[in-house]
Structure formats: structure tokens, C-alpha cells
């Protein structure tokens, strides 16, 4: 974390350099701006034993689990949001231990958001949604200290609190970035501003690299100041099949295709072979989608920026 120019790496280089086996990694996105291109590269490089943190796991986490890259998942939700149909690999891993068992720890979305906010601000803990009596409160696996209850020091009864969460590495999809790492995300931001600030090391995956003068036109959209960012990756369509505000819509047909193919282990393997391995890189994936599909998904309405 520093000022000045940042390395602009390809996805292949970024994964090679920053995501070794066993890496603790928070992946941004909340069923939109999910950096699927990152997951695909992790699968191509056959990473193992990752500790993946993601608020809404979606198809991205499902693929990492199915491809046997993951040892632990911390999440608040893992499903295919179109249909909705199940995240089949996630289910197979937890119900049948296939392709191998994974460890799961869960928070609610609010608890995840507040734990990241506490991490971002270096607070000792933070009040959160009351969850006493709920499953997340009683069921604890690899984060036995994920919740506590304290007495309100100012009077008024018990308060549920979360500890700060400071992921070792974060990787987030953004819309555009400059060479200093200033990263902009338009539209809704979910927990992403706090999540980015909570990470000890940060990679941004931008749809486009732009001049700093372009960034200056909308400083309010900068979700990560350059001094928080370590590495910039430029990867158009990185969030497909999820959506990217102002850039492209959610690809419903592709969500459905993946949902159907991943119903069986064999089908899932076929999806990975065809769409991840054979395509070679994300540019190859986009070529496989085809010009027609790309054109259908591209947002045409005028952006305000």
C-alpha cells in the first residue's frame, strides 16, 4: 500500500504473483460485479486450499468449489441468483463431500458488512444486527469468535457485536482505474467500499484503464483511493455473467446454462473444460461468448459519466 504508480498486470500474472495455494482472499461483488474472470484464472492455474471470503458467493464461488480450489468459505449466501437454481457444486461439497469436503463459516450480510467496516476502521469490534438465538450465532466452525454479546455501556441491554475482519488479500471488480490505482465504481456499491478498505493488500480488476484526468471528472465515484491499491488488472467483461452497472447487463441465459450443466459433476467438468480451460484466458472466453451475445448484453443507455 503506497502512493505512486502501481503495477498493471494481466490476470495471469496477478494470480501467479498474489494467489498461491492456501491464500486467504476476499473477492468483491454482490451478485453484480463478481469478478468471474479471476475465478477462471485461479482454476486455470489449479490453485488449492484457498480460503475464500465472499459476501454473496454466487456462481463464482460455486465454480471455485467445484474445481477443488477451495478449503474454506466464509460467506452469507451461495446460490445461482437466476431462476433461482441451486449452486450445485456448493451443495455437493457440503452434502456429499464432493469433489472434497469444504469448511463453511457463515455470517448474515449485515454482520459481514459491519465486520468489514470494523476492519476498515481498525475498530476493536462493532455493534451489528442482533442474531442471538439464530443459527449463525450458535453454529461456529473456523471462526469461533465471529459474534459476541456485550452489555451496552450506556444502558439499554445486550448488544450483539462482531470483531474486525481484515482479509490478507482482496480482489474487486471496478469500472475504471488509473495507473495510480484510483478505482471507480458507479451505481450501487453494497459493502464494497468498506470491504476494500478492510483488506491488507488490494487488487482492482478494472473494465478499463483511464487517464487520471478522466477519474477527476467524478471523484465521488472513486471507491478505492490509489494509496489503498497495490495492483491493477485490466480485464473487460471480467464480471460476466453477473452485471456491471453502466457497462453490461446480467447474462441470464449463461446463468441458466451454467445452472443446467453444473447439475452433475460430469456436466460441471464439461463447463470448465469448454468455457475456462479451452478458452485460455478471459479474452478467449469473451470470444467464445461471441459478438452477438456481447452486443446484446452491452448497456446502451447514456451514462451520466
Amino acid at each position: 500500500m503506497s502512493t505512486g504508480e502501481k503495477p498493471v498486470l494481466s490476470m495471469k500474472e496477478a494470480v501467479g504473483r498474489h494467489v498461491p495455494d492456501g491464500q486467504e482472499l476476499l473477492i468483491g461483488g454482490f451478485a453484480f460485479s463478481d469478478p468471474t474472470a479471476l475465478a477462471h484464472e485461479i482454476i486455470r492455474q489449479r490453485r488449492k486450499d484457498l480460503f475464500i471470503m465472499k459476501t454473496s458467493g454466487g456462481v463464482l464461488v460455486d465454480q471455485l468449489v467445484g474445481a477443488a480450489c477451495v478449503k474454506r468459505v466464509l460467506s452469507c449466501h451461495v446460490w445461482n441468483s437466476v431462476g433461482p437454481v441451486p449452486a450445485h457444486c456448493f451443495r455437493r461439497a457440503l452434502e456429499q463431500g464432493k469433489p472434497h469436503p469444504i469448511e463453511i463459516e457463515e455470517l448474515s450480510y449485515g454482520a459481514f458488512t459491519t465486520a468489514l467496516t470494523a476492519g476498515a476502521c481498525d475498530l476493536p469490534f462493532m455493534p451489528t444486527t442482533p442474531v442471538q438465538g439464530a443459527g449463525h450465532f450458535t453454529q461456529r466452525t473456523f471462526l469461533p469468535q465471529k459474534f459476541a454479546v456485550v452489555e451496552n455501556p450506556f444502558g439499554g441491554g445486550p448488544v450483539c457485536v462482531v470483531p474486525p475482519l481484515k482479509p490478507a488479500l482482496g480482489a474487486f471488480h471496478v469500472h475504471r482505474a488509473d495507473k495510480y490505482g484510483n478505482a471507480q465504481l458507479f451505481g450501487p456499491t453494497g459493502e464494497m467500499r468498506f470491504a476494500m478498505a478492510a483488506c491488507r493488500k488490494l487488487i482492482v480488476i478494472a473494465e478499463e484503464l483511464v487517464d487520471t484526468e478522466v477519474i477527476r471528472q467524478h471523484p465521488e465515484a472513486t471507491v478505492a483511493p490509489g494509496f489503498m491499491v497495490d495492483t491493477v488488472v485490466v480485464e473487460p467483461w471480467a464480471a460476466h455473467p453477473t452485471d456491471s452497472y453502466g457497462y453490461y447487463w446480467r447474462d441470464l441465459a449463461h446463468h441458466a446454462l451454467y445452472g443446467e450443466m453444473s447439475r452433475t459433476e460430469e456436466g460441471f467438468q464439461r463447463y470448465i473444460d469448454e468455457w475456462v480451460i479451452a478458452t485460455g484466458d478471459h479474452a478467449g472466453f469473451v470470444r467464445k461468448l461471441g459478438a452477438e451475445r456481447i452486443s446484446e448484453l452491452r448497456v446502451r443507455s447514456k451514462r451520466y459519466w
Binding site: 454482490f30 451478485a31 453484480f32 454473496s56 460467506s75 452469507c76 449466501h77 451461495v78 446460490w79 441468483s81 437466476v82 431462476g83 433461482p84 437454481v85 441451486p86 449452486a87 456448493f90 451443495r91 457440503l94 452434502e95 457463515e106 455470517l107 448474515s108 450480510y109 449485515g110 454482520a111 458488512t113 459491519t114 467496516t117 444486527t129 442482533p130 442474531v131 442471538q132 438465538g133 439464530a134 443459527g135 449463525h136 453454529q139 454479546v149 445486550p158 448488544v159 450483539c160 458507479f186 451505481g187 450501487p188 456499491t189 453494497g190 459493502e191 467500499r193 468498506f194 453477473t242 452485471d243 452497472y245 447487463w249 446480467r250 441470464l252 441465459a253 446463468h255 441458466a256 443507455s301
Partner: protein, 260 residues
């Protein structure tokens, strides 16, 4: 053809929404209900989603989930989850919350995490998302279930994802949940359930054509029925027309619709 019980459920939920209300709407059928309400009698509702989108008018396209960015089409506000979950919902600004409850028990506890033992689930489900916040923090919470299967209404859920009244309203109060939070109604294909002072669910009204014993048989415990159970008014032709238009729309948007 007359309205199916599923169509009646969508309309009954929509009718519970008042025009001008500020709503927090969760994933799936609640989104469709709110859209139907907006097209019928409640054009001025304002909907907030967990990711920070504020939807204050009819979008041209039905979102597949709250995070489908067609919900943000020309939005006046796109904020984040701290705003949505805490500044708007927890603060009490949101007047009504609507949450899907595919498995719900006697005290309104909702399970969307796991059926069977947590460590070795028989059926693994998605987990909380913002569903815990809706039920822990939301005022005037309406639960929605499209199921009439007993397995969807056990006496006690295996995992409490979204806390209702836990083992009773006293427990919820004692643990520090804010007053006025907790489920107020459940809408399903059979009709409407409400919750008594102890937080126990009871049958309050039935859809036309559903008998009391049929309705009671869908629950995994001896659910009580209110004396003089109401029968909900049948959908008008106009209402049913809107519901069906939106179901066609939902299908085009890859929603899986119940059979029949």
C-alpha cells in the same frame, strides 16, 4: 380460468402493501408482489434493496434478484449496504419488510440455510444473505411462502436463518431485539397467518376455496385458527390480468414458476 392459489397468494401479498409506503423487499416472490402492488393500487411505493438501490418507480424490466442492476435503471439513489441495512432498515425508516420464507416454523423462524444437521446437511440451502437483517431489524415484517407442503412448515426449523420469535416473543425481547420487530404476517397459497402476543402463528384468513382443515393440515403442528376465519375476496378480472402479465414477464426473466 379462475385464479390458482399461487396467483391468489401473489395478489394477497400485494394487497397488504399500502400506497406510498417505504418498503424493504427481499429476493424472489416478494419482488414480484411489490411490482404487482405498484401496478395495481400502490404506484407511489419506494423500495429499497440490500445492496443500496432505491427503486421508486416501475422499472421496464423485472429484476431476477435485488442485485440485478435492471432494478437500478434510472434510480434516484444507488448507495450501499450500510445505508440499506442500518440507516434505512434498522433506523426504523422502512415501514414494511417482505421476506421469502420457504421453511418457517410455529414462531415464525425462517430457515434458508440447511435441512438436517448443520455439519452434515440433508439439503443445503443458500444461507442468509440479507434475510437475517429483514427479520431481525424490520418493522411490519411480512413473510411469504409459496409452499403448501408440510415439510415447509415444521414445528421447529433445523436452523434459524432469519429469527422470528425464537421460542416465543418473551425470548426475542429478552435477547435485545428491538420492540416492534419480528414477523407480523405470513402470506401463502392458503391465505394469511398472523402471530399472537406470544409470537405463535395462527390462521387468520383463507383464500376462497380452501377449507380450514385443509389449511391446518399443511402445518407440521396443530396450528390454531382464529374464531370466524375470514375468507379473502377473490381477485377481480383486472387484478388477475396484471398478476398473469407479470408471471409471463417473470418466466421471460428465467423465473421458475410453480407447476400448474
Amino acid at each position: 380460468m379462475g385464479a390458482s392459489l399461487f396467483e391468489k397468494m401473489l395478489l394477497t401479498g400485494a394487497r397488504c402493501i399500502s400506497d406510498g409506503a417505504l418498503l424493504f423487499v427481499g429476493f424472489h416472490w416478494p419482488m414480484l408482489m411489490a411490482r404487482i402492488a405498484r401496478r395495481l393500487h400502490a404506484p407511489n411505493i419506494v423500495i429499497v434493496y440490500e445492496n443500496g438501490i432505491v427503486e421508486d418507480r416501475l422499472t421496464s424490466i423485472l429484476p431476477t434478484s435485488p442485485c440485478d442492476l435492471v432494478a437500478a435503471e434510472s434510480a434516484a439513489v444507488c448507495a450501499g449496504s450500510l445505508e440499506a441495512l442500518y440507516m434505512w432498515l434498522a433506523s426504523g425508516r422502512v415501514e414494511m419488510a417482505i421476506l421469502e420464507a420457504p421453511i418457517v416454523d410455529r414462531y415464525g423462524n425462517v430457515n434458508t440455510t440447511a435441512v438436517g444437521p448443520y455439519a452434515a446437511p440433508k439439503v443445503r440451502l443458500p444461507g442468509s444473505g440479507g434475510g437475517t437483517e429483514l427479520s431481525s431489524l424490520g418493522r411490519n415484517l411480512m413473510l411469504v411462502s409459496a409452499s403448501t407442503n408440510r415439510r415447509s412448515y415444521p414445528e421447529r426449523v433445523d436452523y434459524v436463518t432469519s429469527p422470528g420469535y425464537l421460542n416465543g416473543a418473551q425470548e426475542r425481547n429478552r435477547l435485545g431485539y428491538k420492540p416492534d420487530t419480528g414477523p407480523k404476517t405470513l402470506v401463502n397459497p392458503l391465505g394469511i397467518c398472523r402471530f399472537d402476543d406470544n409470537g405463535e402463528m395462527y390462521l387468520a384468513a383463507l383464500h376462497h376455496g380452501v377449507t380450514q382443515s385443509e389449511a391446518q393440515g399443511a402445518f407440521g403442528w396443530q396450528i390454531r385458527a382464529r374464531q370466524g376465519l375470514d375468507v379473502l375476496p377473490e381477485p377481480t378480472e383486472h387484478e388477475l390480468n396484471i398478476v398473469r402479465q407479470e408471471l409471463i414477464h417473470a418466466k421471460e426473466r428465467y423465473y421458475l414458476l410453480p407447476e400448474g
